[in-house]
Amino acid sequence: MKAQPWQGPLERLDEHRWRIPQSYDPGMRVPGIVFADEALLADIVRDQSLQQVANVAHLPGIVSASLAMPDIHWGYGFPIGGVAATDPVRDGVVSPGGVGFDINCGVRLVRTDLTADEVRPKLRTLIAALFTTVPCGVGMHGNIRLTEKDAPRVMSQGARWAVSRGYGCEADLAHTESRGSLEDADPGAVSDRAVKRGQSQLGTLGSGNHFLEVQAVESVFDEEAARAFGIDIGQVVVLIHSGSRGFGYQVCEDSVGVMGGAMRRYGISVPDRQLACAPIRSDEGRRYLGAMRCAANFAWANRQCLMHLAREVFERVFEQGWERLGMDLVYDVAHNIAKFERYRVHGVERTLCVHRKGATRAFPPGHPEVPEDYRAVGQPVMIPGDMGRYSYLLAGTDGAMEQSFGTVCHGAGRMMSRAQAVREAAGRSIEQELAAQGIIVMGRGRKGIAEEQPAAYKDVNDVVRVVHDSGLARKVARMRPLGVIKG
């Protein structure tokens, strides 16, 4: 399957914004807006992601524009890095494809009081202990088995359930998006099959691009925000990337068939079956949102459990309690989700359903949903790069509220297909190459590390530069990987 390069029109609005005019396709209800610089755009036009930006503009009730972040790449239905806000009172729809299979896939950053110099002598022991303790990879089940009684609690309480079981503390919830639990979750809308898939997967990492990474802070760009987040140069932090596991995948799967029927009933047509949708106010729309919130809560419980496992490993390796090691949660944020949020559009405040598919919420200073201790500096936003180079910590600004429904990018963005990455790695050992740079990588799968090698990704520096320069968020700190575990 060859990717077809973009042949359609693209108008430059300013240094970092490009428009696909509504006139490109008569079905588009709004234009497409892409945040990128010229160099990133040269890659973006090579696959089908811009066509997907145009396709999303077909969704009924879409407001302002179909948006794409600078890490945009070809997905299924929505592009990865796509953002769409729909208006419930203008027959706006919710599309499960705008959230994806991995509902509330997201990242969680944990700080420590340890320095890179203190960790390095024990690094191999630490990464090996994480690798054996945190279940990762295909077919690996976790030790936290969800009983029939607990399943609905996880669905409705999310991270709060995990804390109630002793996996973490109340302060963790204050530093989690939506306190780790969305209201109006509807366990009755979740299939038995989804529960079955999730039963043995709480506290498991998964595979593909999911990871648990030990990093060192190498640069601080914004002292005030870094101080508020408890971040300093030389410090060791832990970044966890995972989602709702089989539970969320099945919620998405269950919805696609239902949405197909709903579209026929409501007379909606979209250019891609994976964009199947239903009016937010329809039974099908409400049911999906109720189930999606259960999956989002499952994901927050999962990342809370994963952090608990990581804290236990640090306690064993460094022979101190996690509180003494300063292992507080900096923040946990989703990057595959649909949420109702208030925005001013053409001078009028409206409640919109914001779909973020591979895109991260980034709320500004003063926003009531930003934790109180961060409210002066804005919401922390974590942007993982690749396992050889950098990851970033940013802070939300007003710019994202004005330009992108409070949203920024979610990563570096893939550049190579998985097959191409494996071909490029033939005859090489990516593990040894990374070890030569002082980075220890442990992976379960045979091909996983080759597929996820640094060269498969764009340089996250380029993506973050666009986000920073266009005022969507501001840089706070940059981290370098020390060790990584992968599925």
Partner: protein, 141 residues
């Protein structure tokens, strides 16, 4: 097309699969083998247990995606790694068959990539010029 009846296609973030078969039954078997190759690469599974499957759907596309989702969910929820497929009846909308396999064991089998779902993006089931069948599926990984 390889002898296996399936091949992987390049996609930036996910994995595409093209499967062929002289009949619909063969197409469905080849597509399922492609999925198993993603999950567990070339793991040799023993036919230790047998599962029966019956699926009805509204179209051949829905039938194929429901079939692949079943194979995926068996693996994801119960670690059932298929060894052999016997699809007895496949019409456009009805599938019946049996699958032999065993429990995935990370010590003995190869971990491939976790497949999150069978997407409907660019999903295709159609006839080939020689009277056979082909399908294109993109899996979210």
């Amino acid at each position: 097309m390889t002898q296996a009846g399936f091949e992987f296609l390049d996609h930036t973030a996910d994995v595409g699969l093209r499967a062929t078969g002289a009949s619909l039954s063969e197409l469905f078997v080849h597509a399922a083998r492609g999925l198993v190759a993603l999950l567990a690469e070339d793991s040799a599974a023993a036919p230790a247990e047998t599962r029966s499957v019956t699926i009805t759907a509204e179209s051949v596309e829905d039938l194929l995606s429901a079939w692949l989702t079943d194979v995926l969910v068996w693996f994801d929820a119960e670690r059932f790694l298929p060894a052999a497929f016997r699809l007895d009846v496949v019409t456009d909308t009805v599938l019946r068959g049996q699958v032999d396999g065993e429990r995935f064991d990370p010590e003995r089998h190869v971990s491939g990539v976790e497949v999150k779902g069978v997407t409907r993006h660019q999903f295709l089931v159609g006839r080939t010029p020689d009277g056979g069948w082909e399908a294109r599926i993109i899996f979210d990984v």
